[in-house]
């Protein structure tokens, strides 16, 4: 027997995207949020640097510039209609967060403080513009807390520590979800008119990552198993400044405040790779530059890391060389104390995990798997689409990192994810509630929970000598080595074969916990099965794309190829060793693709 619940709108996930959706959907529809974590544990809380909006609190800025920068940053793979919509909506979204009480840092006049971030420029001068609205280096924490607080105020219904395992589809429409209650292992069926997936990212596929343990791609795995495609999975962002070996993120805001990357010879090497914006080039460019420096033997001590130097004397030296100025025209300088005010958490992380004080010592960094540009394909209304003709599955929505509405294309600009969450989370909530108003509940089949149960039972009853831990490790290593910052045909092919071998081995795992109370071993195993499916789709999509674009840097095909590859990948998981790939065109409105220089 399963427990049955009925809501008009179900939101799966309680990060920034899910909470924003819930706030809006619950205004007019009977709504519940299901989350495997307590909402405030969601990974949105880890976001540091800022949320971009062209509100120009220091200097001139325009949503059109934000749009162009985002399109260029995406290496022209983003859908330009959705980008334009997001960049036009973002000032409103940021003010709305402020009105909900979000404690942004402030300018001397009391306005929202802003800082420069990679790839965000004044389109006339080409110089970095202060567009990232921030709350110290805890912007995501403040967004998550503020949205959750507003949900409490508005009495939103939550099912905390419930993990969704399956999507119910009846007559071609979304009809609800199946979830397991972590505390009891009881299965719950949530019957709904509309379902919004906001389950976040899947960086846990890679060995070095900035992502939380919970970022296991459940949403995409669930929809893949229900026969839906995943879009642009080959585009996964490697952030250039993860703490060496740990992968913990050092926000790009450090470079926004003037920090620079330094190689073993003491050179500021970004000069050579991006002569205009240097350390503030977009992330794919900087990660590749680091990789080349390390490959050519200029990693620190010959090792696989570089220095991010944010000592005030270094910042001031290079700010003077670059001629950087304050808004009033005076030369830009910073003191150790100011740094501590602006980047308190970064300084704390370095002290805690490295015993390094960034005010007096440089930080060892390396590229870290960070952000999924790809995901569940949606249109501009956040409706999930199921094929290359943009056919909508009625009642199904997706927003946030799990979705690919494609505003980030082949490479996301820093601060654009938080905008994406807030803008598209909100519209998912509005659109789903409106859809629910005009829709009926689809009748559920008697066996609604069967598919979910089968998946868990297969894991519970599997008898072999394979360890979940070991399979996970091998997956992460092969993906980091071969489907990482740089890729080759041979490497990706090897990775794909390896992942398929691991999927076979996964059938012979053995669990020790047969209990029903918080069986986290069972759910970690299920999560690994999700990561394996996503890794397979990622590797298959990547090996097929014979060009280099944004985060997909193919050594055998080092150039972007707009003639053959200016298109989105859609990938279906058809069966064993069978990923079907189809393609759909990119929406181009104002900006014709051209070469990308920073």
């Amino acid at each position: 027997m399963s427990n049955q619940h009925q809501y008009e709108v179900i939101v799966v996930g309680a990060g920034g995207a899910g909470l924003m959706a819930a706030l809006y959907a619950s205004r007019s529809a009977n709504t519940a949020v299901i989350s495997k974590l307590y909402p405030t544990r969601s990974h949105t809380g880890a976001a540091q640097g800022g949320i971009s909006a062209a509100i120009g609190n220091y200097e001139e800025d325009r949503p059109e510039w934000h749009t162009y920068d985002t399109v260029k940053g995406s290496d022209y793979l983003a859908d330009q209609d959705t980008v334009e919509f997001m960049c036009n909506e973002s000032p409103k979204a940021v003010y709305e967060l402020e009105h909900m009480g979000l404690p942004f840092s402030r300018t001397p006049e009391g306005k929202i403080a802003q800082r420069p971030f990679g790839g965000h420029t004044n389109n006339e001068t080409g110089r970095p513009v202060r567009r990232a609205c921030y709350a110290a280096d805890r912007t995501g924490h403040m967004i998550l807390q503020t949205l959750y607080q507003q949900c409490i105020k508005n009495k939103v219904t939550f099912y905390d520590e419930f993990q969704v395992l399956d999507l119910l589809v009846v007559n071609g429409k979304a009809a609800g979800v199946v979830a397991i209650e972590l505390a009891t292992s009881e299965i719950h069926i949530f019957h709904a008119k509309a379902v919004i997936f906001a389950t976040g990212g899947h960086g846990r596929i890679w060995e070095i990552t900035s992502n939380a343990y919970a970022n296991t791609g459940d949403g995409i795995a669930i929809t893949l198993r229900r026969g839906l495609p995943a879009e642009d999975m080959e585009f996964f962002q490697f952030h250039p400044t993860g703490i060496y070996r740990l992968g913990i993120l050092i926000t790009e805001g450090v470079r926004g405040e003037g920090g620079v990357l330094i190689n073993d010879k003491g050179e500021r090497f970004m000069d050579r790779y991006a002569p205009h914006v240097k350390d503030l080039a977009s992330r794919d460019v900087v990660s590749r530059a680091e990789y080349i420096e390390m490959k050519e033997g200029r990693g620190i001590g010959g090792k696989r890391y570089l220095y991010l130097d944010a000592r005030p004397e270094t910042i001031n030296k290079y700010a003077a060389i670059d001629g950087r100025t304050n808004p009033d025209g005076t030369p830009y300088t910073i003191t150790g104390e100011e740094l501590l005010k602006k980047l308190p958490d970064i300084i704390d992380f370095c002290r805690t995990y490295l015993g390094v004080d960034p005010v007096t010592q440089p930080m060892p960094v390396q590229p870290t798997a960070h952000y999924a540009m790809g995901g569940i394909p949606t249109n501009i209304k956040t409706e999930v689409i199921i094929d290359e003709n943009n056919t909508v599955m009625p009642g199904l929505y997706a927003a946030g990192e799990v979705a690919c509405v494609s505003v980030h294309g082949a490479n996301r600009l820093g601060t654009n994810s938080l905008v994406d969450l807030v803008v598209f989370g909100k519209h998912a909530g509005i659109n789903a509630a409106e859809y629910a108003r005009g829709a009926d509940f689809e009748p559920l089949p008697a066996d609604a929970a069967d598919f979910a149960r089968q998946q868990l039972d297969a894991i519970r009853h599997s008898k072999g000598d394979e360890k979940v831990y070991q399979i996970g490790l091998e997956m992460k290593q092969v993906m980091f080595d071969h489907v990482g910052v740089f890729r080759t045909e041979a490497g990706m092919t090897e990775a794909l074969a390896k992942i398929r071998e691991l999927k076979e081995r996964f059938k012979h795992i053995h669990l020790e916990d047969s209990g029903t109370v918080f069986n986290t071993e069972l759910l970690s195993a299920w999560e690994l099965s999700n990561l394996l499916d996503l890794a397979e789709v990622t590797a298959a999509s990547a090996v097929a794309r014979r060009e280099s674009r944004g985060a997909h840097a193919h050594e055998d095909y080092p150039k972007r190829d707009d003639v053959n590859w200016l298109k989105h990948t859609l990938a279906w998981l058809r069966g064993k060793d069978d990923v079907e790939l189809r393609y759909k065109p990119v929406v181009i409105t104002k900006y014709q693709p051209k070469e990308r220089v920073y």
Binding site: T40, G110, T352, G472, G515, F518, T520
Partner: protein, 233 residues
Amino acid sequence: MQVTLKVYRYNPEKDKKPHYDTFTLEADPTERVLDLMERIKGLQDGTLTFRRSCAHGVCGSDAMRINGVNRLACKTLVQDVGKKITVEPILGLPVIKDMIVDMEPFFENYRSVMPYFVNNDPPPNGERLQSPEERERFDDTTKCILCAACTTSCPSFWANGKYVGPSAIVNAHRFIFDSRDQAAKERLEILAGQFGVYRCRTIFNCTLACPREIQITKAIGEIKEAIATGNLD
């Protein structure tokens, strides 16, 4: 180096009462206690159960008692606590399984102090203005990650779980001293009540336990003062 981890174990489906298991493993001094627990779960005992997510001290999932002190397992390095490590669940909340406690009473206390922004005036077109000094006034208490390390180290909370506890007070403070907020009075009334700030005996455990280094005792003091004087600066 070789490390022994002594772990509090309780599985309600098997154990009549809790016991301890000891695991031995190789570890780097700079590893997190959480890394060790992950490795034990992965390679030695799959039934070991705990919450975790971010692994770098920002999500608040993994507060536990490590060598008797409330800390986050992901923010505690082996070198901080030595080769003999004991981990136990936080105190004052019902243990469900191993490190997992029932967090509901904690969140109930949190919800009771109106932990949300209230301003009923129509908002301006742009932002509501707030000077850097006004923003600074409540900066410290915006950092809370609701990990419960403070509340579950507080003898007054152990004595009576209805006491809202330091964490809830911190979250009330965050709004009471926000120049844009309008509900300070209601919150102060709640905190002046039977289960509010007067249960605090300034024992200071909370401040020492807080992984975000929030000056909790100071924040509680400021609220007591605001209740006494009706003054909010």
